[in-house]
Assembly symmetry: C2
Homo-oligomer: 360 residues x 2
């Protein structure tokens, strides 16, 4: 068996030790005689798995006691609707900051449920940066301020936390959650699909402050009402049990790496390796403003686009997969989530040098 | 490793060979160097897994070409809202037949989106049967007629297909889908959570006739709009990829058993073993009318409820788990889905005899 270096933007590489544990426990979890996949979500075995996953996530992110952690379904695109359904709370509109494709999706979806004001947008400059907060037009009566903390496609990341006063800050953190420590108390709600830094697709994490729960619009499906799920420990409907189990194993792995402080150092080292190389190169380039570059998703371009296919083919032959940029922006993209070892980035930079030497 | 006999109502027992394959392929699917969990849903490997799962499901159920198969999220409780959102199609109301706890949940949820008329109900007789169709009050202008084809809690199953003329028949088949052949063309829409006969929790199957797609209410989240998902091969948002992979393995297993004709024979043999024993007993009893008894979920009672705890304890000691009935009905329940081997039912009946001999 040869494992590849998988630079997919999501679903994405998982820690090999997590997969080994999952394989070993597949037919018989801890002597239960059952796969986790087969367990009743009401049974004591799964309730313990679920509680442990939540406790680990709370510990890793230092989530305050007045926040609920919900394990839901529907992904970030589902949440783009579920957030306004739950969070409008009788207000006429919400503020959205537009930093790229994922912000745009959130904005489009939110318009189904109430007013949307775009407080700031980087669209006119091709989404190559995060607008500085002093340019934001915030509405003090907004239901919430929505940001996408890391644009998976554009590779633009907030390296600071917006100040929104008494208006709750809502963040789609799908692609940078658990990549570094954050101050959860600065947010009203954090959400994310699991399939980047957490586990399998099909699990959505929602972290929401208690006082914001319980105000869902009447048309909110019960399965997606934060109060219904909070009151039932995320088991109002059958949760995605196996995905929660894998998420718990990933949380354990993060803890074993030294928690988010150590993970951040590792992520910074990986990203620096790649960005420093890009900045020193005249053959490749990064389209993103330096101070807003994502530590997780690194888009880059070959100056000569005609070489894109040859670049990808050579990468594939060397076991480096999923380096093609999103079709909406073209070029290349290396997603280097928590579970990507530094050896993967070293191999990529090595190949980029070799390819440049052959084609420059 | 000792595998138990797991009588859970869902998530539920899976074929051991499926789990063995999943364990063997966990770190490296077919030489790809990746776990299925790590694969981009846009990559050729996962697209092949997804297409194969759909093709197998179409073949097993003989799904006509004018039906779409959607792999969604949110479970049957999510669908309880998503169905009326998509299926009201400008009509004022829908008809619902009330055969138990799951019907009641569907009815309650549907009222958020339009009128609900209860065409028939077995509530006054404790949900011990399916009301005969000649007692149904059907509205010819209804958007659809909704049934729950198998009540997981009450153990009541339709062994016939309602005739609803030009009004589409909608069935929640969560707990008996793939247990026997059905005529899909008699239905407008079939849905079900995967966690009984299909695979892991977190995957929802929707089979819907083409002409019923494209009429969603404006408040429908895009991720749950049948048209959006149909137009994008269920990949408008990231689908629950690993659950789809496991479902595909289960579909292959069903095919290898001889398809649904063979599966039905096996299921009838298992159910007969248990019901025949219950009917011959004065110590145990079945609360359900004979002609409407579920082949999948077999509730039963000990005449002396004071022995319930001792019965469950003895079963547990013999490796027979999750036999406690749902809290809303009490007593016992043996869920004997496709993947429950006949040896499990034989062991259960053997234990029931032994327990009766000790306590009668």
């Amino acid at each position: 068996m040869t494992r590849v270096f998988n630079f997919s933007a999501g679903p994405a590489v998982l820690p090999e030790s997590v997969l080994q544990t999952a394989a070993a426990e597949m037919l018989d979890w801890h002597g239960s005689g059952m796969s986790v996949m087969e367990m009743s979500h009401r049974g004591k075995e799964f309730i313990a798995i679920h509680a442990k996953a939540e406790a680990l996530l709370r510990s890793l992110l230092a989530i305050p006691a007045n926040y609920k952690v919900l394990f839901m379904q529907g992904g970030a695109i589902g949440e783009n609707a579920i957030v306004p359904m739950n969070m409008l709370r009788g207000k006429a509109s919400a503020d959205y900051v537009n930093t790229g494709e994922w912000s745009k999706k959130s904005i489009k979806e939110a318009k189904k449920y109430g007013g949307v004001k775009v407080a700031a947008s980087a669209e006119s400059s091709g989404f190559n940066h995060v607008p500085k907060q002093d340019t934001w037009q915030l509405d003090p009566d907004a239901a919430y301020v929505h940001i996408c903390s890391n644009e998976t496609i554009g590779g633009v990341e907030y390296h600071w936390t917006p100040e929104t006063g008494s208006v709750p800050l809502v963040a789609d953190m799908s692609s940078n959650i658990l990549s570094r420590p954050i101050d959860v108390s600065k947010y009203g709600l954090i959400y994310g699909g699991a399939q980047k830094n957490i586990g399998p697709a099909g699990l959505t994490i929602v972290i929401v402050r208690d006082d914001l729960i319980g105000h869902a619009l009447p048309i909110t499906p019960s399965a997606f009402d934060y109060k219904t799920q909070a009151d039932n420990d995320s088991m109002f409907n059958t949760p995605p049990t196996y995905a929660i189990y894998i998420a718990g194993l990933v949380f354990e792995w993060i803890q074993a790496q030294g928690g988010l402080v150590a993970i951040e150092a590792h992520n910074r080292a990986k990203a620096a390796l790649l960005y420093d190389f890009l900045d020193a190169s005249r053959f490749y380039s990064s389209p993103v403003a330096r101070e807003d570059r994502s530590l997780m998703n690194v888009p880059f371009k070959l100056k000569n686009e005609a070489l894109d296919d040859a670049f990808l083919k050579g990468a594939q032959a060397r076991g480096m997969l999923q380096l093609k940029g999103h079709r909406s922006v073209g070029g290349m993209r290396a997603s280097i989530y928590n579970a990507m070892p530094i050896a993967g980035v070293q191999a990529l930079v090595g190949y980029m040098k070799e390819f440049e030497a052959q084609h420059a």
